[in-house]
Symmetry: C2
Subunit: 147 residues, 2 copies
Amino acid sequence: MADTFINNPSFFKLDATLKKLRNYWQKMFDSRQMDITVDQWLLVENLYKHKKTTHNELARNTSKDITTISRIIELLVKKGLVKREADIYDRRKVYLQLTPDGTEKYKQVKPLVHEMRKTGWKSLTEADYAELTRILDTIYGNIPTKI
Amino acid sequence: MADTFINNPSFFKLDATLKKLRNYWQKMFDSRQMDITVDQWLLVENLYKHKKTTHNELARNTSKDITTISRIIELLVKKGLVKREADIYDRRKVYLQLTPDGTEKYKQVKPLVHEMRKTGWKSLTEADYAELTRILDTIYGNIPTKI
DNA sequence: GTAAAATAGTTGCTATAACAACTGTTGCTA
DNA sequence: TAGCAACAGTTGTTATAGCAACTATTTTAC
């Protein structure tokens, strides 16, 4: 029948792939003494691109919960990679940006990440990338935001 | 240049899609008072299919760490959905299987899961499923197991 | 102009993820 | 057969994920 894909565990496959990727990244980070976790890296990368942003924006950009952002940022601040700065006009807001050490960390880790991306995409094409993007975007769009 | 896909955050897209799926599933479970988490469900589903298995097998089948299995099983045992049974011949081994309540839970949740899978795949085809599988399997295979 | 609602962020709690270290058991090997 | 490696599982610790409840501001509504 036509429902093979409904009955198959794509959730599981997504999860397994992501987990293997995450573990690979983390082990590479550890073996090169990068002293950073995968999710911490994702925030550093985002802060490098956006220079100055808030917890909320960061949450939207990284698809993470704002409480998770809050806690990861806390760790990055402790490591001296990120600094917080209060908004003068809206005292609820806190701007986040990389410190010089944070920028340094970004430049140190970036080439390794580039290599790992190449490794992951080995023997796949630009068309494959487009396909994956299309399918994942479709699934993403199919899921109701409110139930 | 030809490296669009290398420079693009497919990791992020995988993560975002999976997270949205997981949240959707969890919210549906909660709204129907299924009293189960997504990962607990994955183990229950697996135990239903394999009837009698060990922590190790379950870890392999679900792509989860054995420590994670150990803790999720602990919760399922507390909920009365799973029971442990010692192997007579190898006293290190513990067999796991669903209790009658566990089987009941499976039958209760299964239709909802089927519906949610249909929702996720809406407007996608069998060919899309094959493509996604191929691409994810390739990425999975590309990642070194040992670094 | 004040009360209510919305916004920004933090903290408490529970669950999943993974590494390290541990107990206990079994199998292997000199 | 004694010693040690391998195996099965658990426990401790740190990190991410997300909900609920909270503080503190700002905006909106009347």
